[in-house]
């Protein structure tokens, strides 16, 4: 699939009341791929993504969304193309019922009444929320409210989806399902940005990873390059994925590997080779 540059961030600076949060950030978000934005609490990740739909405008530098400078576009215009889900779902839920929340979003985004119902049903089922349709969002658990906030944004089908900590409070089922939904959206050509501390989730779904520390992007590259670089990860206060970590411990013990694995199957491949070559018969 042809990847298009959806959002281009060029040397952006931003401060809140004189406190510099972004110190010259450059980054590109492409369609048809999942970009994970990772780093310690307070690194500037949330401030950065608020630039993606014009909620914040750069004080220095530029942000282009599908070629349009965010300083020359309204949030309403940008929000159609870039859907943002905050870390705390309560910051964006306000309707009386789960169904109303989705219906409002769709009408607000200018969906024709003939399609509103069908889109609403689609996302309610996709996110396993149809059983709660008449409930007030405030009676849902925090994990369910988070799912509702994501569902509302997915419903109006933006080109880029930006999710702040989507896995927080999600159990194993919902996390696996979320991974499948994100993958499906990627296949449809959407650009997806996830802000996450969950290294194992990033291993599963990210194509590229950008590490932030102290208001700067300190490393950006393929998920494999970034998530197997122990030094870079520690600088961003992240731990390596369990598999890469196991591999580096084995290397310290004198084992050799053809490359640092990231997934269980890859580590298994290396281990099987080792176990076989060290055994007499070699065939386990």
């Amino acid at each position: 699939m042809l990847k298009e540059e959806a959002i281009i961030v060029k040397d952006v600076y931003f401060s809140y009341n004189g406190f510099e949060v972004l110190k010259g950030v450059s980054l590109t978000v492409r369609t048809g791929e999942v970009l994970a934005l990772m780093g310690e609490n307070g690194a500037g990740k949330t401030t950065l993504i608020k630039h993606f739909n014009g909620l914040l405008k750069p004080q220095k530098g530029r942000v282009l969304v599908f070629g349009k400078d965010t300083r020359e576009a309204s949030v309403a215009q940008l929000a159609r193309r870039v859907g943002l889900v905050f870390q705390n779902p309560d910051h964006q839920l306000f309707a009386e019922s789960v169904e109303e929340e989705i219906l409002f979003t769709l009408r607000n985004m200018g969906y024709p009444e003939s399609r509103v119902k069908e889109r609403c049903e689609y996302v309610l089922r996709l996110f396993d929320l149809d059983k709660y349709r008449q409930r007030s969002p405030y009676t849902l658990s925090i994990g369910e409210r988070k799912r509702l906030a994501i569902a509302a944004v997915v419903s109006h089908d933006p080109d880029v989806l930006v999710l702040d900590e989507p896995t927080a409070g999600q159990d194993y089922f919902n996390k696996s399902k979320l991974a499948r939904i994100i993958n499906a959206m990627k296949m449809k050509g959407k650009g997806i940005v996830i802000v996450t501390h969950d290294v194992e989730f990033a291993v599963q779904i990210a194509d590229r990873v950008a590490l932030m520390a102290n208001g700067r992007v300190i490393k950006v590259g393929s998920a494999r390059d970034v998530l197997t670089d122990e030094k870079g990860l520690r600088a961003a206060r992240l731990l390596p994925p369990q598999i890469a970590w196991t591999a580096s411990l084995l290397i310290q013990k004198g084992f050799t590997m053809s490359r640092i694995p990231m997934l269980p199957g890859e580590l298994y491949f290396e281990l099987a080779r080792m176990l076989d070559s060290r055994g007499e018969g070699g065939n386990l």
């Binding site: 994990g143 927080a168 089922f173 194992e200 992240l238 369990q242 199957g265 176990l275 386990l284």
Partner: protein, 282 residues
């Protein structure tokens, strides 16, 4: 004597048709670190609410069975008395911190307990020291990072010297190193002070290695209660496997006979290295 004891506990929220707890029996003692996991809506939060008396004193409904904490019946003991024995830290520390400085935040619970001034001062100093918060004592909670806030929330609960500490998804909003620091700190309290800790957490790869016991819930019932190394092998349909356990399962099929399920990268590396060296010798 167990610190927490539930026998045949059923609970149904007022207005609900279905029981949220369907016959839960569970007891835990000093020095245990219980990891409580299960799908959303399985009854974990309801169980925690029974332990600190929010059920039945705050949330109304039908409570059946026996529930005692530190020898006190939760039905007949008011919440403020139970609070001295059971400290609860919520998912989002912002909901729990509201004063103007870390020092005052820690003193608040102690003042509420009606302790003497000198005792409050002593405990605040000790808590600041144990939790490494001395430099932050005059800072306002909103000036702190998420990890620091979580630490303050736990410190202010621990200053009250509860016998039981309940953590509801303590790492949900923390970067992994901060999460690990918090869990390590709690682990020290479990080991050294005999604190009984009950942790609800979805991220097994972070929490499992600190657990002395794994309790898995589904649909209002306990479906596993025992050794984490055994539990992770057959509750994965509900809670998933940590990546090291997936790898271990794959390697085991290739004839690795070690009967020790590794829960951390260190343990998996150890198991594999040993297997290789044994094979070399034989």
């Amino acid at each position: 004597m167990p610190l927490v004891e539930l026998k045949g506990v059923h609970f149904k929220y007022a207005g609900s048709d279905e029981y949220s707890l369907k016959g839960v029996s569970f007891s835990a003692s000093r020095g245990e670190c219980v990891l409580l996991v299960g799908p959303s809506g399985c009854g974990k939060s309801t169980l925690l609410r029974v332990l600190n008396g929010l059920i039945p004193h705050f949330y109304e409904g039908d409570l059946e069975g026996e529930a005692t904490v530190a020898g006190l019946d939760v039905r007949s003991t008011p919440i403020h008395v139970l609070a001295k024995h059971v400290g609860m830290v919520f998912q989002d520390p912002e909901n729990q911190l509201f004063l103007s400085s870390v020092e005052r935040e820690i003193a608040f619970g102690l003042e509420n307990m009606g302790l003497a001034r000198a005792e409050i001062k002593r405990r605040v100093e000790e808590t600041l020291r144990v939790f490494g918060l001395e430099e932050l004592r005059y800072k306002a909670p909103y000036e702190l990072s998420g990890g620091q806030q979580q630490k303050v929330a736990i410190a202010s609960i621990m200053a009250m010297e509860p016998e039981v500490l309940v953590l509801d998804e303590p790492t949900a909003n923390l970067d992994p190193l901060s999460a690990l620091e918090i869990l390590s700190l709690v682990n020290v309290l479990v080991k050294d002070e005999g604190l009984l800790t009950i942790i609800v957490e979805h991220r097994l790869e972070l929490a499992l290695k600190f657990a002395t016991r794994l309790v898995v819930m589904n649909d209002g019932r306990l479906v596993f209660d025992g050794d984490p190394r055994t539990g992770v092998l057959f509750t994965h349909r509900l809670i998933g496997y940590p990546p090291v356990v997936i790898t271990y399962n794959l390697v085991r099929r290739r004839g690795l006979t070690e009967n020790f399920t590794p829960l951390t990268p260190e343990e998996l590396a150890e198991v594999v290295a040993e297997a290789c060296s044994r094979r070399k010798q034989s």
